[in-house]
């Protein structure tokens, strides 16, 4: 790691003269001619908080495994944090061939500069051809910084990934408010970078028999060199993470107002599920954005999904069509939601939902199965 070049971290202060922009942070003609054949393998940057990995990181390792096998190359993970060696092992069990581990006390909380420097050091030393991060708030913050420094192309918020016979990453993402998908290529730069959405790809089951090297990476900044300070973390206790739910009861414009969601909550409680919503209902202010499925909201893979009073616009459907079983209730027999539903009911949701709530409660009593919060 001795030949790694690290950026100077001199900070301008307002008292200095006009800022001088960094001239080295852009592609140039010379880059186009470059031979990239020394870039091999796929790198997944694992995101964690308090030693717990984000689910999207394991999902990306699952997808990365598939892509690496297709390219006949290796899959690596990069774990950054403080006291996170357990995650390095888990990354191996989740599909990585080897893991780069940067474990240091000043890396306990995510901060852009120290984290991006570790990523840049690993990428420059080990030269992966593809680098993937979760499209979380932190993942997007970090990916934007890394791609600019390298420099290389970065595709945001992918929902499909593949590779072609020229080893190009086919990074597909929603465009135009999720009404279309676009496939983005990065032909002349390496690594090819993308962030990918949570809940889209499948994590591999833990396999503790898997083995792989864990390579220690030194931290690249001392605490004294880091300007940004994390003062506090305020956990949001009423936070709803739809991506992890097994049963979702989602409501749309057809609910007519916030009181419709009270009825829906009762139904969700009977099922042991949580309430989701279409963008129309969220935009109308009937329920919070945390509950939104599809367009700029969550992509879910629940085992059971009820779509109540949701017409089924493309931007909603892309977020829920991978649910195992979909039941739709809508007044309009032509509603597109019926094209993706396994069971469809045309009728008045205000009489159907209470009836369904009662029927589910009765069935659960009879079958002795108690509603559990999953």
């Amino acid at each position: 790691m001795s030949d790694m070049k690290l950026e100077q971290d001199q900070k301008q202060t307002p008292s200095e003269n006009a800022p001088k922009m960094r001239r080295d942070l852009s592609p140039s003609e010379a880059v186009h001619e470059k031979d990239w054949s020394d870039h091999k393998g796929i790198l997944i940057v694992v995101e964690q908080r308090g030693g717990i990995a984000k689910k999207v990181s394991w999902q990306l390792l699952g997808e990365g495994r598939r892509l690496a096998d297709k390219l006949q190359t290796h899959l690596s993970a990069l774990v950054i944090g403080s006291n996170v060696s357990g995650l390095a092992k888990e990354a191996i069990y989740r599909g990585a061939d080897n893991v780069y581990l940067c474990d240091s006390v000043e890396l306990e909380n995510y901060r852009t500069r120290p984290y991006s420097k570790v990523c840049l050091a690993v990428i420059r030393e080990y030269k992966p051809e593809i680098v993937l991060l979760g499209a979380t708030y932190t993942g997007r913050d970090l990916a934007g910084a890394i791609a600019t420094h390298l420099p290389t192309g970065l595709t945001a918020d992918c929902t499909q990934l593949d590779v072609d016979e020229n080893r190009l990453l086919l990074a597909s993402r929603p465009a135009f408010s999720e009404k279309m998908l676009a496939t983005i290529l990065c032909k002349q730069y390496k690594p090819q970078m993308a962030t990918a959405r949570s809940g889209v790809f499948l994590a591999l089951p833990l396999d503790p028999t898997r083995q792989g090297d864990i390579i220690t990476i030194p931290s690249q900044m001392t605490e004294g060199e880091i300007v940004t300070q994390v003062l506090d973390f305020l956990e949001q206790t009423d936070h709803v993470s739809l991506e992890d739910q097994e049963i979702i009861v989602a409501g749309g414009r057809g609910l007519g107002g916030p009181e419709g969601f009270v009825m829906l909550q009762e139904f969700a409680d009977a099922l042991g599920g949580v309430v989701g919503a279409s963008r129309a209902a969220v935009d109308a202010g009937w329920i919070g954005h945390d509950h939104q499925v599809g367009q700029t909201g969550s992509t879910v893979r629940s085992k059971l999904y009820f779509a109540i009073g949701i017409s089924g616009a493309v931007q909603h459907v892309v977020g829920m069509q991978n649910a195992d079983m979909i039941v739709a209730v809508n007044r309009d027999p032509q509603a597109p939601i019926f094209k993706v539903a396994h069971l469809g009911i045309v009728g008045d949701l205000f009489t159907l939902v209470p009836a369904l709530t009662e029927a589910i409660r009765a069935q659960k009593r009879n079958s002795g199965s108690v509603p559990v919060a999953l």
């Binding site: 307002p14 922009m21 140039s28 506090d232």
Partner: protein
Amino acid sequence: MHIVVCIKQVPDSREIRIDPNTNTLVRQGVPAIVNYYDLHGLEEALRFKDTVGARVTVISMGPPSAEKSLRQCIAMGADEAVLVSDRAFAGADTLATSYVVALTIEKVAQEFGIVDLVFCGKQTLDGDTGQVGPGVACRLDYDQLTYVEKVVALDEKNHTITVHRHLEDGVEVVQTKLPALITVLTELNKPRRASLPGVLKAAQYKPVVWSTNDFANIDRSKIGLKGSPTIVSKTWVPEPRKVNTEMIDGPSPEAIAADVTKRLWSSEAASRLGWA
């Protein structure tokens, strides 16, 4: 205190429809608006104008028609507006865009005074990437605070800013030194309406316009299509998954509910959920 606000004029993508017959975008009649996340950045800057007398310069890269959006910002209370416009910038991806935006901020700093703070929207409505803000911060060597939902304190004496960063599971309270670049969420504030004096000023106002020739050190290989590593290879409308839909009907809501429940309990989903 001098604050730069980056804005982009975008087609209101909420209004873009897909033609069901051709599966192509219908762009006709789609209004051009200021990317609404950016307006929350402008509002925050204007609050510092109100409270500590900050000067606010709005910049945009775009076609000449983007002057309209810059005038809207002047009407809301911005002091100056700069449009960076050149056909050579066309086709820029986020890397090439951040290069030109950073050059512009550098030039704004030289000509209008040192920049302490830059506000950007968290992402644009038409690109949805959120990558330009971090790109600009890297190039200017500013610290970046992204997805900010609240500015807690701006300490002019110690040159620090403290904010709430929005994360999936909570809020992070973060402090950094100026100059810094901040990308903002709509939760941050409610953008003001244009004032009457603002509207009068905007009606007369001509934004400063810069093209590639106004940047002495611009590297032409880093702008527009040529400076963009990513290319769109295709776009398509995703086909919904094909399923065999069973429509349920019955004499009463209760009968339908009983039927649905029976089917649910005999489904694979029920066994996966441990119900059956």
